[in-house]
């Protein structure tokens, strides 16, 4: 396929035709990558909703150099040959992003101290990087009771930012989606049919794709802060169809506190795992340990203060866990 030229924040790169601005920026990497709360590269049809990835297009293309009149969502706008994009270079974009973060936090309970997602929460990172330290919102926030949807998943609707990612997991990974969005506007909520449980072999992936703490792992609830547990890459021969068997074990001493799928540098899961791997295999002996997981993000769990000691500490464990 023909390569086309795009310039983002003054850095020129070449990408395939049909690439979104966001993915072009990701191919460059670094600070110029716009944050994304709803776009998820492995889920088809995601993106465009949260508006955190808005960028300014100052030149539409080589042929038609007119700028685009409004800021555009970089995740759902494809690059054109000779397009010039401004992300952090544009004050408009910085202002708009600040507004979006503020809007996202308007109804967010900010209960990070009791939220299991704290430390690996996209919204936390986003507001730390782009948000304000105070709020101008002085009203009561919308309130829902946390409910169990199935044996393994807890839904805290209060924390939800309505990114629609979990619906796409339901549509694209499981056999049948068992939850949906009811209502509209700021009174919309994720719900199951008459509180029926979400129970499908791949339903646990909604926990991984949830950018906030709205969908959390009941088997991990309140056990530990994520940054106190040590992530280890591991894999197992999984017999479930479509399951990659590649996961991250979050350890405390010799206990597996939880199992998640592996996330890449954009905090996205590319290879999903089944519920058996996620919820039932909580014994180190079930897994082949590959080594410490490197988390290449800016949040608190990626400070890497543990990486070296872990290699050392778990050396013995690694040997015992190998299949005989």
């Amino acid at each position: 396929m023909a390569l086309i030229k795009v310039t983002i924040d003054g850095i020129e790169t070449q990408v395939e035709e049909g690439t979104s601005i966001l993915n072009a920026a990701r191919s460059i990497g670094g600070k110029i990558v716009p944050p994304a709360m709803c776009y998820y590269s492995s889920l088809k049809g995601s993106g465009g909703k949260c508006r955190t990835c808005l960028v300014k297009v100052t030149q539409g293309s080589e042929k038609d150099p007119r700028p685009m009149p409004k800021l555009v969502a970089s995740c759902s706008t494809n690059v054109m040959d000779g397009m010039v994009v401004e992300n952090t270079a544009s004050q408009d974009v910085i202002d708009a992003r600040k507004s979006i973060v503020e809007m996202l936090l308007v109804n967010h309970p900010l209960d990070c101290p009791v939220c299991d997602q704290a430390g690996e929460c996209s919204l936390q990172d986003l507001s730390y990087e782009h948000g304000l330290s105070t709020t101008r919102y002085e009203f009561e926030r919308r309130k829902f009771d946390p409910i169990d949807i199935g044996d393994h998943i807890k839904l805290h609707m209060n924390r939800c930012i309505l990114c629609y990612r979990c619906l796409m997991v339901g549509d694209q990974l499981t056999n049948e989606r068992e939850h949906g969005i009811i209502g509209r506007g700021d009174h919309a909520e994720i719900s199951t049919y008459l509180e029926k449980s979400v129970d499908n072999e791949f339903s646990g992936n909604v926990i991984d794709v949830c950018p906030v703490g709205a969908l959390t792992d009941r088997t991990f609830r309140f056990k530990s802060r994520v940054w106190f547990s040590k992530p280890l890459n591991a894999h197992r021969e999984c017999t479930t169809d479509k399951c990659s068997g590649k996961s991250v074990l979050w350890m405390s001493d010799n206990d597996v506190l939880r199992v998640t799928a592996r996330k890449d540098q954009n905090n996205e899961v590319k290879e999903f795992i089944c519920n058996t791997c996620r919820f039932d295999k909580k014994d180190v002996k079930d897994w082949v340990i590959e080594g410490p997981a490197h988390i290449s993000r800016d949040s608190v769990i990626s400070q890497n203060h543990y990486e070296l000691p872990i290699t050392h500490k778990y050396k013995a464990l690694e040997n015992t866990a190998k299949p005989q």
Partner: protein, 450 residues
């Protein structure tokens, strides 16, 4: 008496039935189009007429039609947007209720022009009885050979369906309408691709307002040039205006575009002036989404020209001193009306109708509503007015569909033109609770016309 193109026979008894409609020259355009015209010549006529979309945005209809992609072997569709939900607008309902065959006739010729063999009328759930009227009209047209297979022996087939929506404002946005018609949640789609390329079931689709489609009938019966002679400048033809508020004669009026607003509001042929001896305070000229205009700016543009009922004249001066023709929901406020309460009411509507897909609109409308709640109920502060201004600024332009803009504009215009009234609410918390009334301060500013 100005020219009536759409409502000419509206008062004829029994015009809602096929027989009477046919006697009055109905379905002549179908005969003409199918027997002596090609789809291309019809599109050309509509282009020549300068007809602009009557749903609110005012996009030239002929141009929209010519954008329709025509890949081989892929069916195309025409959708009629009868999801008329803009507060202050009720023209389509009147048209469909009184003279349903005009819409059916327009649908047939428009579908023929676009090469659509299956077309839909998407009507809002609250207009349930109108959908029955339309379905009856479709059955009559079908019985007389104007719908179905091989219409009038021309070899052209058309099936026309009425689909009733669930009553959501957002489904009036064309891509949300398509989603809803497909049986999904009515969330607007990301554009591009535009419906002209990938619309209903990923097929090329044109979505037009009821009034736009009805206007095509007259254009074909006469000619595009004749239509372009009516009106003023780029605002050609006639427009249905739904007039409401404290005026002597509320209702739906067909006006020739370019009519002076003064004549429309005060002549006995149209609104008949203000009722009960009240004075004019403000006008929303095109449905709740468009900026409100205070009396002085309503009658005269910032340049001092008399304002006309046309797309250009009402938009003169941009949003600073102008507004929009929009969908023609003409709402008149007299001196007793409270602009703060009105803004609160509009915002309540947009908060309720936001689809909740993208964050600025979902959270921003709720936030604006809460701030306006405070101001309206005498608990606001001066900072709240600035905050409100800031919130609307952050919604506008950052959303997927125009609903975000539509929610932001009325708030912006109310603060821009009636800031004193908001301040009056802050300064007089008790008085503003006792009576909905921001008049004391704000009337002094404007030279009100009696």
């Amino acid at each position: 008496m100005s020219k009536k193109l759409l409502l000419e026979h509206i008062d004829v008894p029994g015009i809602n039935t096929y027989e009477v409609y046919r006697q009055k020259g109905g379905y002549a355009s179908v005969e003409k189009a199918l027997k002596s015209m090609t789809p291309e010549t019809i599109v050309e006529e509509v282009k020549k007429s300068g007809l602009r979309g009557r749903g609110g945005a005012g996009f030239p209809a002929g141009m929209k039609w010519s954008f329709l992609a025509k890949p081989d072997g892929v069916p195309r569709h025409l959708l009629c947007n009868a999801d008329e939900s803009e507060p202050g607008t009720f023209k389509d309902r009147y048209l469909m209720e009184k003279i349903p065959h005009l819409l059916i006739e327009g649908m047939i010729v428009s579908s023929f022009a676009l090469g659509a063999n299956v077309s839909y009328i998407y009507i809002r759930g609250e207009y349930m009885w109108v959908s029955f009227i339309l379905e009856r009209a479709i059955a009559e047209a079908k019985a007389n050979g104007f719908l179905g297979k091989n219409i009038l022996g021309s070899g052209y087939d058309l099936e026309l369906y009425v689909q009733v929506g669930g009553g959501a404002y957002i489904c009036g946005e064309e891509t949300a309408l398509i989603e809803s018609l497909e049986g999904k949640r009515g969330n607007p789609r990301m554009k591009p691709p535009f419906p002209a390329v990938k619309g209903l079931w990923q097929r090329p689709t044109v979505v037009n307002n009821v009034e736009t489609i009805a206007a095509v009938v007259w254009i074909l019966n006469n000619s595009g040039e004749d239509y372009a002679k009516i009106g003023i400048g780029k605002s050609t033809g006639t427009k249905l205006i739904s007039a409401s508020g404290n005026i002597k004669r509320q209702g739906v009026y067909e006006i020739e575009l370019g009519l002076p607003v003064d004549e429309f509001l005060n002549s006995d042929e149209y609104c008949g002036g203000m009722a009960n001896g009240k004075r004019l305070k403000a006008v929303v000229p095109g449905g709740s989404s468009v900026p409100i205009l205070p009396a002085e700016l309503f009658y005269k543009t910032a340049n001092g020209d008399a304002r006309l009922m046309s797309y250009e004249s009402l938009a003169d001066g941009g949003f600073a001193t102008g507004s929009m023709l929009g969908s023609g929901g003409f709402v008149v406020y007299d001196e007793d009306a409270c602009i703060v309460r009105n803004t609160w009411n509009f915002t309540r509507f947009y908060n309720h109708e936001s689809c909740g897909q993208c964050s600025p609109c979902r959270e921003g409308t709720g936030w604006m509503l809460k701030v306006l709640n405070k101001l309206e109920h005498g608990q606001g502060s001066m900072e709240d007015i600035d905050l409100l201004w800031d919130i609307q600024r952050r919604i506008e332009g950052n959303t997927i569909c125009p609903l975000g803009d539509a929610a932001a504009w009325p708030v912006a215009a109310a603060i821009r033109h009636f800031r004193e009234e908001f301040e009056w609410h802050v300064k007089n918390p008790k008085l503003c609770m006792e009576r909905n009334y921001g008049l004391l301060e704000s009337t002094k500013k404007f030279e009100l016309v009696s």
